[in-house]
Amino acid sequence: MDLTTFLFYVLAALTGFSAIGVVVTQNIVRAAAWLLFALAGTAGIFFLLGADFVGATQLLVYVGGTLVLVVFGVMLTAQGPFINLRISAIEWAVAAGVGLVLFGVLAVAVWPATTPVYWTDKDAHRDLASSAILGESLLGIEKATPWWRARHYSDPAPRPGSRERKDITALSVNGIDRPRTRVAYLLPFEIVSVHLLVVLIGAAYLARAKRRRTDVEQLS
């Protein structure tokens, strides 16, 4: 068993165990702590898969930002009875049954996914697209679009099972080969950033300090 295999099983066990911990714990503060480990384990999985930038973003945005937001929510609302809100045993049984069935269906559905494994062959440590290429494709720079890469970086020896590269480069329309439409992510990136801005302004507006309704009723 080599190091990557060992690391995968350690990280997967950490992530899965923490995710189950989020579900079974009744204490909301402990659930937040389990969620921290689950998200950090997922970031480790991303690093293991070679997606450095996504892993770093997961750590910065998710663990550093979203989780802090959730913890603030817990702190602001965790008073007395709300820390431990329990559900009945029957509801637990039903939820556990539904969860097991759902997991069984998903597992049976995805287990035969037999994409060739390049984990341990000599090509195993090829990097995924670096953060520079990711940034270029977000900006729509031509070099980072799939058809450009396919045309200029065509593999001399394609990996087993990789699709024929030729069919990506050209699309035959009326007998004339023309390049496929470029796929770039400038517009989605822009939409997402504006969306994030609007959402944060809206959240600040929603959560601003207000008088309680009872105070307003007493005043009027």
């Binding site: 973003t57 959730v70 809100l85």
Partner: protein
Amino acid sequence: MSEPGLNHFLILGALLFTCGVVCMATKRNAIGVLMGVELVLNGATVNFVGFARFNPTFEIEGQIFALFVIVLAAAEAAVALAIVLNFYNNHLTVDVDTAEDLKG
């Protein structure tokens, strides 16, 4: 223990997804429901990055989609927490079973 292939990562994603769904269904605390949503989104992200690693034609797209999911999850968490805090201000509770103002 075999070496991890694509289906191992898909199983991990399925486990995270299932935990998230069960968490959303069983938690009575509104913030607990929010944590379930985070787990579901994480399961989807694991699938995307797994496909980016194992399918050469999906190499950039998988990572880009994962980034979009992370950013949208941050936005969703911000709005959901604002709503929860507002609900807490108005009703002095975070129990989702008591949110029945719209009940007919």
